[in-house]
Symmetry: C2
Subunit: 270 residues, 2 copies
């Protein structure tokens, strides 16, 4: 069995996550981690506006005149865990228009009612288009707004599409990294990347092996007078169905047949 790790689909590299005006360095790190778990690595930060935290009492200030000089604080890297490479390669720009300039499709993540014409679509609805566009070599962007205020009307205007994560109507409070996680998961799940590297080698029993074992069981039941006035045919059909649907393995067959043989021996039938 080939258990080499399957390669990531190349075109995931054409999908960009854009975080606009993020306030907390920890959220940028957690988002990077969420992305990387699902094979996404391209991150663009628009005018990060980081607040002080106990861990980062003096976060770096974003200077629109020289965005490329912006350095994320240590707190982002701690939360990113093994995804520091995503943060190190992140682009930093001053406006959302720059972040989506080279994209053909950009998706504004929003769950607010908007004065907008697009119908609401979920990640599940939109990911086929994203993956097709990426596979054709074009860049797409998923755009997430500020933790408290979301995306402004102007930011939504810069995107082609709305994307809405559906959820509990009475409590919708996905945080930034959770929203990135859900969207990244949805993208990866639709790539149908194989899970071969996680599958342990199995030895499933064939139809004939199961039927043979059931016949063995029936023979023991017959020996011990179990069928007396019972509907034996129906019972054996149920047993056949039970083992047929249970992903029975050859080792299970060996155990059961060994058990039946021992019963027969004790009964002096073998």
């Amino acid at each position: 069995m080939n258990t080499a790790k399957p390669a990531l689909p190349d075109h995931l590299g054409n999908i960009r996550i854009v975080l606009s005006r993020t306030s907390h360095p920890a959220n940028i790190g957690a988002a990077a981690r969420a992305m990387k778990t699902m094979g996404l690595t391209r991150l663009t930060l628009v005018a990060p506006n980081l607040m002080a935290t106990p861990m980062t009492p003096e976060p770096p200030v974003f200077d629109p005149a020289s965005p490329q000089l912006f350095k994320l604080p240590e707190e982002s890297f701690i939360l990113a865990s093994g995804a520091a490479d995503v943060l190190e390669q992140a682009a930093v720009v001053a406006t959302l228009d720059e972040a989506v300039a080279d994209t053909v499709l950009s998706y504004a993540l929003t769950s607010r009612k908007r004065e907008l014409t697009s119908p609401l679509k979920t990640p599940r609805d939109l990911v086929p288009e994203i993956l097709q566009t990426a596979a054709a070599g074009h860049t797409t962007a998923l755009v997430f707004g500020n933790e408290t205020f979301g995306l402004s009307i102007e930011e939504v205007q810069s995107c082609n599409r709305l994307m809405t994560i559906n959820g509990n109507p009475g409590y919708f409070s996905l945080n930034l990294a959770q929203a990135v996680q859900v969207v990244s998961y949805e993208i990866f799940s639709q790539t149908d990347n194989p899970m071969t590297h996680l599958i342990h080698e199995t030895h499933p029993a064939t139809h004939a092996q199961i039927s043979g074992m059931i016949a063995h069981m029936e023979s023991v039941m017959d020996d011990i007078g179990f069928f007396n006035r019972r509907n034996g045919k129906r019972m054996m059909r149920r047993m056949q169905n039970l083992f047929a649907r249970a992903n029975t393995e050859t080792e299970d067959i060996d155990i059961l047949r060994g058990f039946f043989n021992t019963v027969k021996k004790r009964l002096g039938k073998e």
Copy 2:
């Protein structure tokens, strides 16, 4: 347009999230929040084994003899944000077998190779079964292990099924709350709960309104001699297609027709 919040499907109440031997109070809170965003509210904690953190220097110790007396520390409630009700109603038990005793199906979340017979299945594969079982009134449980060690072989044995979240083969590091988020999202997404409460009232243009506007555009183009030697028929077909697929609204039609009228007036054609 009816924009009342759609009710949550009742049978989500038959789906339980089980966190076994969790180490960090913050993760329990973040998991509760992740659950509630997707309409899940039933949480069971198995023998929580909480470590000290800067926020909770002396976390409560779990006593297997009286699990019902266990109280979660403040840190859990802070991370739970608006989902404190989920924590307050959480059951606390000493063993995983107690947590799944009344379930008909329980799913062990795992991404490790295991000496187990079940084939690996994803949340997408398994959620139809979970929702059908829940709708039939039976309880199912999704079981998440310790943050560092995952589920033990014995814990996996207590479950009927394995569930594996697929992801980047080179970096699979979903944390506990992210894993709960992904599974909860997958469950909610398959309920097909409507998003009507989020949809802004729209006034989509009819086919005839779009065709009328295109005829108006064509007339202006003709007036200004734009078609001179160009393939006018093909261009107008493209314009018709463009507006037909763009979810054009009646207000857009009004804007464009107003614009065309003004051009005609300036040209003295009206």
